[in-house]
Structure formats: C-alpha cells, structure tokens
C-alpha cells in the first residue's frame, strides 16, 4: 500500500531507539505537587480549594472559567499549601496550586458514569469537559470545544493522530503498543458524537508493529480504518495530517471542522476513554524521558504536577551534564533553563541533550539555496519571509503569506547558513496576531 504524505518536510535523526522498547513505568511522586491553573488554551481555571484544605486524588481543585477553559484535578492526596506564581515550562510564572503530597493516594470517588449505550451526546461531552481533557499533543486546546463544532453532522472524519513525527518521542508509540484497545475504544466513543464520520488511525510507517496491532483491532469496525503515513516531520501537524489522510487542504483562516475533520492525539483519545468509561478525570500523562545526557531513557506514566527533576532521577540521572533540556520534542518543544517545573497536561517528553546544536552554529548570510522552500510544508518562501520579518516589513510579510506558517521549524533545521528563519517568522506572526486582536 502506498503511504500517504504531504509535500515538503524533513527527515531529522529520530532518536526513538533510545526509548521505544522501554515499557511505560509509573512514577510515584514525592513532596510538593504543582498544578498550573493554565495548562490549556483559554481562560485559566479558577481555584476551588483553599490553603490548608485536604484534597483527595481525583478531586477537582480548580474549575473551568468559561467554555474555552478546562478544570484541574489533584493527582495525589494531600494538603493544599498555597496558591502562588510558579515557573512553568514556557518560562512564564503562572498561578499554581501547590499541594503537599501525603503519599497515601487516597482516592476521591470517580465521576458517575452510565453504560455508554445509554449516554446521550451531551452526556459524553459533559464527561470529557468535566474530566479536564485538553489536546495532549502540545497545544492544549480543550477537547470538548474541539468536539463541539457548529455542525456536527458535517464532520466526515475523526482522525487519531498516531504519527508521533517529533524526533525522540515514544510516548504515543508505547501507548499504542501497550493499550491499543483503549485508543480504539476512545475513538469509537468520539465517533458516537458524529453520526456521519469515519474514524482514521493515522500512523507513520516507522511503527509497523503498531500498524499491525491496530489493524487487527479494527478488523470488525466498519467505521474505523488504519492509514499508513510516510515517516516525515511534520507529518503530525494538523493541516498536513488532514491533507495526507483526506486530501483536504485547510489554511490559517479555517478550522479542521471546516474541512469536515477533527484531529485528536493518542493520549487525548485514551483520556477520553478513561473519562467516559471509567469516570477518571485527567490526572496522568505519558512522558518520554530521553536524550544522550540521561543514563537510562524511559517512558513513564506521570501524575500531572510532578516535578521534572524526579523524572530525571527515575531515568537514572544524568550521564553527562546536559547543555540543553527540552520539554517536548526537539522541533517544537520548550527549552528549559531550570528543570524544577511541573509536568503538565501537555508535557510529552523531557529531552536532555549533552550538546546544544543551536549554540554550535553561528547564523550566517543567506546563500539563496532555496532549501527552505523545498521543505516548507506550507509551501512558503521562508528566506524571504524572514527577510521581511527582520526588516519589519509587515505588508510584504502578509502578502507573501507569512500568516500561513505553521511554525514547524523545518526551514531552520535545513538552512545551511543556519539562519534563524522560523524564529524571525514566528516573531513577526505573533506580533501581527497580537495587533489584530488589539484592534478588534
């Protein structure tokens, strides 16, 4: 079968062998737990606990503040110490609920659930919303919002993003190897919301074992099929994934729903399963701890709120002093200057690199080789856009479709002159978006 793909993209060293054969292990956190009130896109959650209050594992500690927002749950039992500003992965200091873990893991009763057959669509959506599920691939967009398009009947495809195109990441891979039935059942639950939709499990062809497992599982599912994608970055980028699987192309002014598609990440769909079937709110996520600076790269299931430093300990500590630590993958993740930040709903990996490749190279003058055009999945002219951005030429930037950039970073990765292409473009894009918002 021919593999599906898009035009452009890159093939970086993927580093997945470091951790792909390590089964998911549970992390038992120690000491304080930090729960940022803003782990999602939208309004920060409103705390509903006070300092000194005892909370149970699975107890809601912050309520969604509006429709585009998401509640937060305690992942341990213990006492609320305080609510204060703490450093998070993005480098921002945001309001966090601090809980002293008492190590008892006393559980609050799960959310009440009915058998799925008896649930209405609203019941399912309410459970997903109440469970605090957000897009766990990195963006953190509240899932119940994504699953409530204006016209649900016009959704033709629900795509499970199993591509995991970021180098080094193996958390989705381990999920698919260990509990593929949860993924398939989660997708079936989401399909209950959309009467005219087909389910697609989109997997890159570097995971043949997953493809085999998933194909076996969906053999009797008329609404679900497995589609094999070419291994390439950024295959898992929403727009590129929709194009690869359905040949529908969307631009920056459209939502996936405008093309009749909804895309969800593996961990998100698994979270939907445990919320709707088991009544569990979102308390855990799978994190890959990897890179050449850690002794024993592994995959962990981690309670949200755990300090990253504990993951390093669990992975055998540092082999050498890391020059750079990234939360997430090397293409889209956040570089951390301080490792003492909490795992959030969107933390997919902790990548510790002994050498900082970015610092090694000095940006030099563009040689106009055009390689950035070849790899750009949005088919832009990154070198020109970066010129406009560096000169502050907003008009030309927009004219040359700069707003269509998906910020995947393929141009910067490829550039032989090591120019800061996506960095300049991103800055200009964000500035324009912020100004547009202000002027509205």
């Amino acid at each position: 079968m021919a593999t599906l793909t898009f035009k452009g993209g890159i093939h970086p060293y993927d580093g997945k062998d470091l951790s792909k054969d390590k089964p998911i292990q549970e992390i038992v956190p120690q000491g304080e737990m930090v729960y940022p009130l803003s782990m999602h896109i939208g309004a920060p959650a409103t705390p509903i606990v006070e300092a000194g209050e005892r909370v149970l594992k699975g107890q809601k500690i912050a309520e969604a503040a509006g429709f585009v927002s998401s509640p937060v749950y305690a992942s341990v039992s213990g006492t609320v110490r305080t609510i204060e500003k703490r450093l998070t992965v993005t480098g921002d200091r945001v309001d966090c609920i601090i809980i002293d873990n008492d190590g008892l893991y006393e559980e609050a009763p799960p959310m009440p659930v009915k058998p799925v057959e008896d649930m209405t669509k609203e019941d399912i959506l309410t459970l997903i919303r109440e469970a605090g599920i957000v897009g766990m691939g990195g963006a953190g967009f509240p899932t119940h919002v994504k699953l409530s398009p204006k016209e649900p009947d016009k959704i033709n495809y629900v795509i499970a993003n199993c591509s995991e195109c970021e180098p080094y990441l193996t958390s989705d891979y381990r999920r698919m190897m260990e509990v593929p039935e949860r993924l398939v059942l989660g997708l079936k639950i989401i399909l209950l919301l959309f009467d005219h939709a087909k389910g697609i499990l989109a997997v890159e062809d570097n995971k043949p074992d997953c493809i085999r497992k998933l194909k076996e599982l969906v053999i009797d599912e008329p609404r679900i099929s497995v589609k094999v994608l070419k291994t390439k970055y950024p295959q898992g980028s929403e727009r590129q994934l929709i194009y690869a699987t359905t040949k529908r192309a969307i631009n920056s002014s459209m939502l996936p729903a405008d093309a009749g598609c909804i895309v969800n990440n593996v961990d998100t769909i698994c979270a939907v399963f445990s919320a709707v079937i088991e009544g569990h709110p979102l308390m855990y996520r799978v994190v890959t701890v990897t890179g050449d600076a850690v002794n024993d790269p592994r995959n962990f299931i981690v309670p949200i709120g755990t300090n990253y430093a504990q993951l390093i300990d669990a992975a055998g500590g540092f082999k050498v002093k890391p020059e750079k630590i990234v939360s997430g993958g090397p293409m889209m993740g956040f570089a951390l200057f301080d490792i003492n930040v909490p795992v959030t709903k969107t933390s997919s990996a902790l990548l510790c690199m002994s050498k900082d490749e970015v610092a090694k190279w000095k940006p030099s003058q563009c040689i106009k080789c055009g390689k950035c055009l070849e790899v750009c999945p949005a088919r832009l002219m990154p070198s020109k856009l970066a010129d406009f951005a560096e000169n502050g030429d907003e008009e030309q930037f927009v004219k040359y479709n700069g707003m269509e950039c998906v910020e995947c970073g393929s141009c910067s990765y490829t550039c032989p002159a090591k120019r800061q292409l996506v960095q300049s473009i991103k800055y200009q894009r964000r500035t324009i978006l912020a100004n547009r918002k202000k002027n509205k």
Binding site: F6, I339, E404
Partner: protein, 313 residues
C-alpha cells in the same frame, strides 16, 4: 533529588540543526569540479595548473583583504571564494598570462560579489562576471585557443563556418577551448555527483538544455541532425555553464517555477546568440543576462501556499 545548579541553554525552537552548511555545500561543488579540473590540467599541461592556482589565490585573498580592511567578519572559511576562483580559471583559455587571472579574480570578488554585500547578495555569477570583464578588455587573448601548442578555431566556430567537426572528440574533450569547458563527460560526472548529493536542482540545467536543443533544432542551420545537436551541446562551455554556473544559488531563482522559467530563458538566449550572433559561443552572456532577470522572475513566481483557495476535495 537531582539538582542542576547552572542554568541551561535556552533558545526558540527548533533545537536541532541539520549537518548541512554553506561550507559543506561549497566543498561538494569543489569536489564536483575536480574531474573537469583534472581533465583540463591533463589536456593543457602545467600552465593550466598555474592559472588555476593563481585564480584561486586571488579570489580568496581579495575576499580576505576586503573583509579585513572593511572590518567585516572574515568569510573565506565558507569556501565560496575558492569555488569562484576555480570556476573563473576553468573559464579561461590556457594561453592567457597569469595577471589576467588576477584581474578577473579581483573583479569577480570585489566588484561583483563584495560590493553588493558578499555571499548570496551578488546579482551576477562572480566567475562569469570576471570572465565577461576579461573578454571585453582583452578580447583577442580571451578568444584565442590553443591545443597542444597550436592555435586553432574552436569546434563551434568551425561549425559556424560550415566545417565538419569530430563530435566524439567534443564529448570527451579533445578540442580547444577554455581549461574546464572542453570535456562534456568530465563535467557530467561532477554534475551527477551534485545531483546525487542534492546540491543542485535538476530544473535549471534540464530546462536550459532542453530549450536550447529545441531552439537549435527549429532555427539552426542543420535541423534535427543528432551529430550537430550533440556538438552544439558539448561545445562552448554549455555543460559547464548549465550545471555549474546557471545553478549558482545567489543568481538563480529560488522558486520552483522560477527555476523552470530561468532555464527556458537561458536556453533561448544561448540559442539566439549561437544562431544569430557573429560569435559562436554565448553561454556566458546568456547566463549573466538571465541573472539580471532573477528578481523579476521570483516576483512573478511566488509559490501558491498550502491550503489557499480553500478545500481541495
């Protein structure tokens, strides 16, 4: 608990970079030019080697001194000056004196490259700019070709005069001409190397040669005679120009469609010059004129971006 006392490096994404670099690309181009260079030295003897050495030394030294004097960062490490020097030498007849290589090299680097902002900013291929400058200044010396010590007309000039030429000699390079342009085979070996290593894009040389062949077939004196067409392709530095100079990054369009248009213009201009002008060659002028059209071509060939125009059902 693991304590990391020092702060770690932070930067905006992405955090990894490919191994590709400007210097590596230039090195690959130099390697790709070695077969043609080697053949040139074998064919024309030690004078060819001296000219090549003088030319490279001139271009590298000019760039180095200019950047030192102007207190700019020195960029000779990216090897692009070596490529320019080598290409310039390959475009000189072996009979020219060494100081002409110096003049050509200084003109190429100083006027064509550095005055316009250095690497990537030049509007014209530096080596060809240098060569054209020399041809205008020293026309007789630059168009006198010797082979085995005997001054002879180039095969293209003989074709133009209606004489017969040995096409096979032209393909392997046993003909008079500039140092690096004579052997089509040696140049092709380097070109294939560049294509395999993804240094050059097929679009420009392919459309260039195709357009040229069609033009000569339609408007040339001998129609579609395969021997005549092969002689036209192998002669006059067309191969060297198509694969090594028309593909120069800075002076060719970066847009995919632009590359095709650029190749077609090159083919037409070279065809026009060879069929209608009084000289028999024309590759150099076709390339430098097309170089000037690049900004215009790019402006009209902005690629259609992904998803614009909405759904693609």
């Amino acid at each position: 608990m693991t304590i990391v006392s020092d702060m770690m490096n932070v930067s905006v994404t992405p955090h990894i970079r490919s191994k590709e670099s400007t210097g590596r690309i230039m090195l690959l181009v130099i390697i790709a030019l070695l077969p043609a260079t080697g053949f040139g030295i074998y064919q024309f003897g030690y004078q060819a080697a001296i000219l090549i050495a003088v030319s490279i030394a001139t271009t590298v030294l000019t760039e180095f001194l200019y950047e030192k004097i102007m207190k700019m960062p020195v960029t000779v490490g990216d090897l692009s000056a070596i490529v320019t020097g080598l290409l310039l030498a390959l475009n000189l007849p072996v009979s020219v004196p060494w100081w002409m290589a110096v003049i050509g090299g200084v003109f190429a680097i100083l006027v064509v490259k550095m005055f316009f902002g250095g690497i990537g900013q030049n509007f014209m291929n530096p080596a060809l700019g240098g060569r054209c400058f020399l041809v205008i200044c020293f026309t007789a010396r630059m168009t006198t070709f010797t082979l085995d010590g005997v001054t002879t007309a180039t095969p293209l000039a003989m074709l133009k005069a209606g004489e017969d030429v040995n096409t096979w000699d032209m393909v392997i390079g046993k003909i008079p001409g500039t140092i690096g342009e004579t052997s089509a085979i040696a140049i092709m070996v380097g070109a294939i190397f560049l294509i395999l290593f993804d240094v050059i894009d097929m679009r420009i040389p392919f459309t260039y040669l195709l357009t040229f062949v069609i033009f000569i077939g339609l408007f040339g004196p001998n129609g579609w005679d395969p021997y005549y067409l092969t002689a036209q392709l192998a002669g006059g530095g067309l191969m060297l120009g198509a694969f090594f100079m028309a593909t120069d990054y800075a002076t060719s369009p970066i847009t995919p469609l632009g590359k095709i248009i650029f190749g077609i213009i090159l083919g037409l201009l070279t065809g026009i010059f060879r069929v209608f002008s009084s000289s028999a060659e024309g590759v150099s002028y076709a390339i430098v004129i097309s170089n000037l059209l690049v900004p215009l071509i790019e402006r009209f060939t902005i690629p259609k971006c992904f998803g614009k125009g909405g759904e693609n059902r």
